[in-house]
């Protein structure tokens, strides 16, 4: 164990005394902040087009708008529903409620009974008809349940309509003019959809990039520079040398990954375009465990590739296809919505499936997640064993 720690300290010192390596470790975090902020806008706008089929929208509205006929926004929505191909399988039911029942109705939105609740200021439509635009007393608020696809969809459509129909009137403010939170759901379907695709992809790419920036040098680089043989001549066991290196790689990759993660967090507001997301502590902890097991797997996989390579260049060229595989695994949950236990045995894909499920529903089958973590740990242990064996193969280790 003492030798493992000696090698670990030496490796850490190596990583943190090489300026170029430091740059390659921590620059991605800064770049990610910039690039993903821009990328988030593209992804987010793509996901605002949430698809809803065979649904009846349940829309409540306050009756205090002041005219006999339906509010204009609802008539517009009826027209939209009748003419839109996308909505041809959908219908709508309206529930007029008294202005005194706002709080009760909001609770019904939160519980999922209503998809949308429109609150008008008193005599809102009268004010609109008389063109009394933009006075402080006239407003329209839209409350929805972001946990539901239907709620998200109708909110997006109605918001767009409000911008056109009630142009110049205030939207989503309280009587004093302060902004309100329109989503009454605990989380956000749209945000969850964005995250369920983006997070596995970013996790895979961030972790793999971190691993790629250090593992080629860890063994292949040492072979190339001729510094590894000196260590192989010492009485230290090969297993201790491997463990020391892997531990240092993990810590360094984790630090690099953390920097990238902070960059991602910085970019999240624009990624989600103001949509709120909340996770339970359990979900966050589980995500953390999944990230650690992913890191373990990637570090050991990278070290295997580094061990069989003769140079950093050769190692990097072998790592590139693996990165593509990791990316593919991150996208596959879009096509495979399965908690089939067999899938939990497929490395990388199992982690993506877990993350995807966790982010959309906030929960996942215990068996699936246990098998995922277990199988990744078994793969990691197997790879460490393989590296130790490879370290004893002269043809591979001695150039």
């Amino acid at each position: 164990m003492k030798n493992v720690f000696t090698v670990f300290k030496k490796e850490m010192r190596r990583y943190f005394t090489d300026r170029r390596m430091l740059l390659s470790l921590f620059l991605p975090g800064v770049l990610i902040f910039v690039v993903y902020s821009l990328m988030g806008r593209v992804f987010s706008s793509a996901f605002t087009q949430t698809r809803v089929e065979n649904t009846s929208y349940h829309v409540a509205y306050t009756e205090n708008y002041g005219t006999e006929e339906k509010p204009r926004i609802l008539m517009n929505f009826d027209a939209y529903l009748a003419s839109s191909d996308e909505e041809k399988t959908n219908s709508v039911e309206y529930y007029p409620v008294s202005a005194t029942e706002v709080d009760v109705t909001k609770e019904k939105v939160a519980s999922g009974q209503y998809d949308l609740f429109i609150v008008f200021s008193d005599n809102f439509e009268v004010a609109v008809k008389s063109s009394a635009a933009g006075t402080n007393t006239n407003y329209i608020n839209l409350f929805y349940n972001g946990e539901k696809a239907a709620g998200t969809k109708i909110y997006n459509v109605m918001s767009s309509m409000v911008d056109v129909v009630y142009k110049n009137y205030r939207v989503n403010v309280d009587p004093t003019g302060r902004p309100i939170t329109p989503n009454l759901g605990k989380s956000d379907y749209q945000g969850a959809m964005v995250l369920s695709v983006i997070v596995p992809m970013l996790t895979m790419s961030l972790l793999f990039s971190s691993v790629m920036s250090i593992t080629p040098d860890a063994v292949a680089g040492e072979k190339e520079r001729g510094t590894l043989s000196a260590m192989l001549l010492t009485p230290i066991r090969r297993g201790e040398l491997v463990m020391g290196k892997i531990l240092a790689l993990m810590v360094t990759a984790a630090l690099s990954g953390l920097t990238s993660f902070l960059g991602l967090l910085g970019g999240l507001p624009s990624l989600l375009q103001g949509v709120s997301i909340s996770f339970s502590i359990g979900t966050v902890v589980l995500l953390g465990v999944l990230i650690v097991t992913t890191l373990l797997l990637f570090v050991t996989l990278g070290t295997v590739v580094s061990t069989i390579s003769k140079s950093v260049k050769e190692c990097s060229s072998y790592m590139a296809p693996l990165m593509i595989l990791a990316m593919a695994a991150a996208f596959l949950p879009l096509a495979i919505k399965s908690e089939n236990l067999g899938m939990a045995l497929v490395p990388m894909l199992n982690i993506s499936l877990c993350m995807n499920q966790l982010l959309i529903t906030g929960s996942i089958g215990v068996g699936f997640v246990a098998l995922t973590i277990g199988s990744n740990l078994v793969f990691t242990a197997g790879l460490i064993f393989l590296i130790t064996r490879l370290f004893k193969v002269e043809r591979i280790m001695i150039l």
């Binding site: 000696t6 190596r14 510094t227 043989s229 000196a230 260590m231 001549l233 010492t234 009485p235």
Partner: protein, 254 residues
């Protein structure tokens, strides 16, 4: 010089598999290249053994097997007449080759400490040895300078210092003066003579006949992986210079 050998190498055999490309380059039909074939030699305390041979003769492979970097396919290496484990043997051997490098990003002092720790040397003993060895080579002035900022000669001195960090009984140096200027070469020669005085058993491989004539007590000439001539320096060079003896052997083989 004591009577019994400190290290005995018996009938070593080592071959390497060749890729198709390597076979074509060497115009060979076999897919294996025999690098060392039945080679034996003995090292004694307070003796310097010089290994001579053309490129590809098997010198480096032999030294790598002695240093435990490579395992022989056949044959054995005995320490004081006994077969001991690889890790035990590693504690007794100091190995240096031009292909073996130290990490440029570390200082000589840190590198010495690191290797001492891997050899299990306690801190007090390490500091004592580091002080003596660094002073001996003049490395002490550069002890905290990154190795990448040192001259080639100074790097070689640091490598020599590290190779004896664990006070080995057997010293195995593959072309120790390769690439060094005359001043640095002289320092290495003097260092080897000092080690000899300390009773170390030393084996070096080199292409420089004058170095062998000047330093070595025993010389062995390897051709095609086999020992073709071995003897005390004065016996081998009784009637001709070492260079003449060497070329007579090589041309006789052709």
């Amino acid at each position: 010089m004591s009577e019994s050998a400190l290290l005995e190498v018996r009938d070593l055999y080592k071959s390497f598999s060749l890729s198709r490309k390597q076979r074509a380059q060497r115009h060979l039909s076999s897919d294996r290249l025999v690098a060392v074939n039945g080679l034996s030699l003995s090292l004694y305390e307070g003796e310097i053994y010089g290994l001579l041979g053309p490129n590809g003769a098997g010198k480096t492979t032999t030294l790598r097997m002695i240093a435990t970097l490579l395992s022989p396919e056949r044959g054995e290496i005995l320490y004081r007449g006994n077969s001991i484990g690889q890790n035990e043997l590693r504690k007794k051997i100091g190995f240096l080759t031009s292909e073996l490098k130290l990490d440029d990003f570390f200082t000589p002092s840190y590198t010495f400490d690191y290797f001492s720790a891997l050899y299990g040397i306690d801190n007090a003993e390490r500091d004592r040895r580091k002080g003596n060895i660094f002073a001996r080579f003049g490395v002490d002035r550069f002890a905290d300078t990154q190795i990448k900022n040192l001259s080639t000669g100074m790097k070689q001195k640091v490598s020599l210092a590290i190779s004896i960090a664990h006070n080995p009984e057997i010293i195995v140096y593959d072309e120790p003066t390769n690439g060094l200027d005359i001043m640095a070469s002289r320092d290495v020669e003097n260092f080897l003579l000092d080690l000899k005085k300390e009773g170390k058993a030393i084996v070096i491989s080199t292409h420089i006949f004058s170095l062998v004539e000047k330093l070595c007590d025993t010389v062995g000439i390897i051709l095609d992986g086999s020992m073709r001539l071995e003897g005390k320096m004065n016996e081998v060079c009784a009637n001709a210079s070492l260079e003449q003896v060497f070329f007579d052997l090589v041309e006789g083989q052709e």
